[in-house]
């Protein structure tokens, strides 16, 4: 299996970025080749999107998966999954049923060579607070995650604040259990400082400073390098990327920054998200040095 030995922050791409093109004008292999063109080595997939015949792929498909990773020098970094406890309209899944769904994804992530999972929690409020039994579900899954070397990470995304209750609850859980198999994925939307005139800004949102990352670094196993607007001189105009990457480098953090483009314009006819991703990778390459 392909290995990439660079230490420090590393470049990768979340295949979610191709959501408007995947299955229509781009195959999985074409997404891999696009990432390879950028000289990036990490990848995040969405289990429910990119795995053929999910959640039960054939052995032939898994062989093809590893062949693609080797051919395009790709490391399977993050496996995007959902604990869909609201999957039934009539009732919520029990803790046991939610665990079974999560365990199925942990096994599949491991089978595909992943080490980190972006584990999306089901929410119960408009402030996106997770279901009340999230601790029980995760606790049940910790032994399996440990056995298979998987780190489950909820994504911390705007309007959530790195100093807020949600992150605090996750960190307390990590400290109480002492686990190395549950951590955080920080989405860089939490650092966004610039908004277009008239653009909607969630009233619950306060931007974090890049330094707010420092106390959380031991629990961050992966990041979503969210970007909003890349200039034609290859600068992100809304998020302080230079300062963020400096924090990671100065503190010897080792892991992947996975580009995620979420702009609605990617659904416009003829839009090529690969070109937008390349602009960001020119910037990342310059700041990271690889």
């Amino acid at each position: 299996m392909y290995k990439y030995d660079w230490k420090g922050p590393k470049r990768g791409v979340a295949l979610y970025s191709y959501s408007a093109e995947f299955g229509l004008t781009k195959s999985l292999e074409e997404c891999f080749e696009d990432v390879h063109d950028m000289g990036a080595h990490g990848i995040e997939i969405l289990a429910n999107t990119h795995i053929e015949n999910y959640p039960y792929p054939t052995d032939e498909w898994v062989e093809k998966w590893f062949r693609l990773c080797d051919k395009y020098e790709i490391v399977p970094v993050e496996y995007g999954n959902w604990i869909d406890s609201h999957v039934l309209g009539s009732r919520d899944l029990t803790t046991e049923e939610s665990y079974e769904m999560l365990a199925r994804d942990i096994r599949l992530a491991h089978r595909l060579g992943f080490t980190v999972m972006r584990t999306k929690m089901p929410v119960i409020t408009d402030k996106l607070e997770p279901v009340k039994n999230w601790r029980e579900i995760i606790k049940m899954a910790l032994p399996l995650a440990e056995e298979l070397g998987i780190q489950m990470c909820p994504e911390i995304h705007t309007p959530t604040n790195l100093k807020g209750d949600m992150v605090n609850d996750f960190v307390s859980f990590i400290k109480e259990t002492g686990t190395k198999n549950f951590g955080l994925n920080i989405d860089f939307s939490v650092f966004r400082t610039e908004f277009a005139e008239g653009e909607y800004v969630d009233p619950n949102y306060t931007p974090n400073a890049p330094e707010d990352l420092i106390p959380l670094l031991p629990y961050i196993y992966c990041c979503h390098a969210k970007f909003i607007n890349m200039s034609d001189t290859f600068e992100e105009t809304t998020i302080p990327y230079k300062e963020i990457i400096k924090i990671f480098k100065d503190n010897n953090w080792d892991g992947y920054l996975l580009s995620e483009y979420e702009g609605a314009d990617k659904y416009d006819l003829g839009y090529e998200v690969g070109q937008t991703l390349r602009k960001q990778h020119i910037m990342l390459k310059n700041y990271i040095g690889d």
Binding site: S19, L46, N48, T49, D84, V87, M121, T125, L128, A264
Partner: protein
């Protein structure tokens, strides 16, 4: 697969024992991830204004037929974004030769979205705010039967 939700390929009359007993068409899932069948909220179909109730439409996913009631409870069967579903409708004699306007609504739930959005999902009406990655609920297309 076409970018439109209602696909042009797969629209035809269907036969049982040599007799035309209905028609079928295909839809793709306009979402960035696949869904389990219980996440689906199928709506009403109109063909040239003629109404077909959601309970009378069979969804075929990967070669298996599912009724509206079966889908409600099925959170193990997954529908992929890369594979259109076949929708089967009973209608003795099928649809006539020529153009037909299909209007069909469906949507799906997402556990990670705010409950206020989930509670008001209506497959036969558009969401309050249109979000391209969730697609339109109601899709329309004019297609030919030979």
């Amino acid at each position: 697969m076409e970018r439109e939700v209602i696909q042009s390929v797969g629209f035809r009359n269907t036969k049982e024992n040599g007799e035309i007993t209905g028609f079928q068409f295909k839809v793709r899932l306009p979402y960035y991830r696949g869904v389990f069948l219980s996440q689906l909220r199928p709506g009403t179909l109109y063909v040239d204004g003629e109404k077909f109730e959601k309970g009378d439409i069979i969804w075929n996913i990967k070669g298996e037929d599912y009724t509206y009631e079966e889908m409600k409870e099925d959170f193990k069967t997954h529908w992929a974004v890369t594979e259109p579903a076949v929708l089967k409708v009973k209608k003795m004699g099928g649809l006539s030769q020529g153009f037909h306007e299909l209007v069909y609504g469906f949507c799906f739930t997402s556990s990670y979205m705010p409950p206020v959005i989930q509670e008001h999902l209506d497959p036969d009406a558009e969401s309050f705010v249109f979000m391209p990655e969730f697609g339109h609920h109601v899709n329309k297309r004019k297609l030919l039967i030979v």
